[in-house]
Amino acid sequence: MNYTFHFGVVWDDWHALAWGTWLTIQLSASAMVLGLLVAIAGALGKTMGPKPVRWLVDAYVEAIRNTPFLVQLFLIFFGLPAAGLRMSANEAALFAMVVNVGAYATEIVRAGIENIHRGQVEAGLALGLRPLQVFRYVILFPALQTIYPALCSQFILLMLSSSVVSTISAQELTAAANDLQSRTFRSFEIYIVVTAIYLALSLAFSGTFAAIRRAVFVETGKR
């Protein structure tokens, strides 16, 4: 192999990659928070809603989980404007990520809810809580606690798959790297560095998730 590495090119433009990294963090974190809200609403509809709502949630989850993310992204960015809904690339990217992760997370949260012992619900109802109050105060927290690790894995996958949104020129790390590459042609160096950044991001998100778990899910003793 007679390739000579020139990481200097990447170093000269470090602020472009740093900015891209920051945008990826923002985009991913926003999609995680909004996606979790979608998932909670979806799981609520699926477990407690009337039949039409359950069908609707099923249709949403199946449609998203059985089609490629890239196609979903194109549909939203190139398709929706035809229906009069115009979005910037960044908005479309966030929207697509929320819709996508919301479907996967709906299934995860639903599994957590169904894992809750029926007696918990009955105790809540017997105390006079209305069904929605039972969901909010009795079911939701323990459900999230049990599925938290699965949810975190899903969120890491989301962060990694956010690189796909560079295809519609949304601003994030991979787009910044592509841009730098087209100016310098030092693809190998750039993507080695970008790979390292994604790895570091995964570890950083994992660490943050662990810290959140320690802060939120208190030690409640043996069950």
Partner: protein, 255 residues
């Protein structure tokens, strides 16, 4: 104990008229007629699967009956009754498996419903909770989680949690069946304390000593029917039905 002498009078707080309940094609309750008076204490016993749990769970509509009427405090209860939650808040229930909320402390278990259902202010709800935790004799556990307590302590918290809603009636579904023998006594003592304070109680239990000392009336169920009911002295000394005698022979020491 003087409990049995204060025979309950007054108007019924719970009335069941011809109540029947099926699970699919299985008939769990057959034409149940029952009046519970204010201040009355009823013990329900019978073999496993005879419909005891189903009966008391119909009273707060954790199970929905298909035929007959259930009236609580002048209001008919049904699956579509408006304000089912409003009726439930006046009926306390204690389960065999405690069903405390594992993610909430003992105190939070007790304040949740008063705060969310009755909109009681936190300070007031906590004062109330501490009063009832005192009464079930575990005030020092207020800030622990249910998982850190023994079964007997958990069941006493469950009783305190129900009492915090100031219920007009308390339903117990085999409250001591899941407990180790040494913890049965502490829970029964708590229930006897409630009885002495005049609480209206329906208890599914096989603790016949409790029935003798506390109940005004003992009901024997079999195959979804009320087979026999009588004050405890009569019930235990002169059971009328053969089924009752067989059952008592199985559960009472020396037959």
């Amino acid at each position: 104990m003087s409990a049995t002498t204060g025979a309950a009078g007054g108007e019924p707080i719970i009335t069941l008229e011809g109540v029947s309940k099926r699970f699919g094609s299985f008939q769990a309750l057959r034409n149940i007629n029952l009046e519970v008076h204010r201040g009355e204490r009823i013990v329900i016993c019978g073999p496993s699967g005879s419909g005891k749990s189903t009966l008391i769970r119909c009273i707060n509509q954790l199970e929905h009956h298909q035929q007959g009427r259930i009236v609580f405090d002048g209001r008919e209860i049904g699956p579509h009754a408006h304000g089912l939650d409003q009726i439930r808040r006046e009926i306390g229930m204690v389960f065999q498996s405690f069903n405390l909320f594992p993610h909430l402390t003992v105190l939070q278990n007790c304040t949740l419903a008063p705060m969310k259902v009755r909109s009681t202010a936190r300070a007031e709800a906590e004062a109330l909770a501490r009063r009832y935790l005192e009464r079930v004799r575990i005030p020092e556990q207020a800030n622990k989680y249910p998982g850190q307590l023994s079964g007997g302590q958990q069941q006493r918290v469950a009783i305190a949690r129900a009492l915090c809603m100031n219920p007009k009636v308390m339903l117990f579904d085999e409250p001591t069946s899941a407990l180790d023998p040494e913890m049965v006594k502490e829970v029964l003592e708590t229930m006897i304390g409630l009885a002495e304070d005049g609480m209206t109680m329906l208890c599914v239990t096989h603790e016949m000593g409790f029935a003798r000392s506390v109940a005004h009336r003992v009901i024997f169920m079999d195959a979804g029917e009320i087979v026999e009911q009588a004050p405890p002295e009569t019930f235990f000394a002169h059971p009328k039905s053969e089924r009752t005698r067989t059952f008592l022979g199985q559960i009472l020491p020396h037959g």
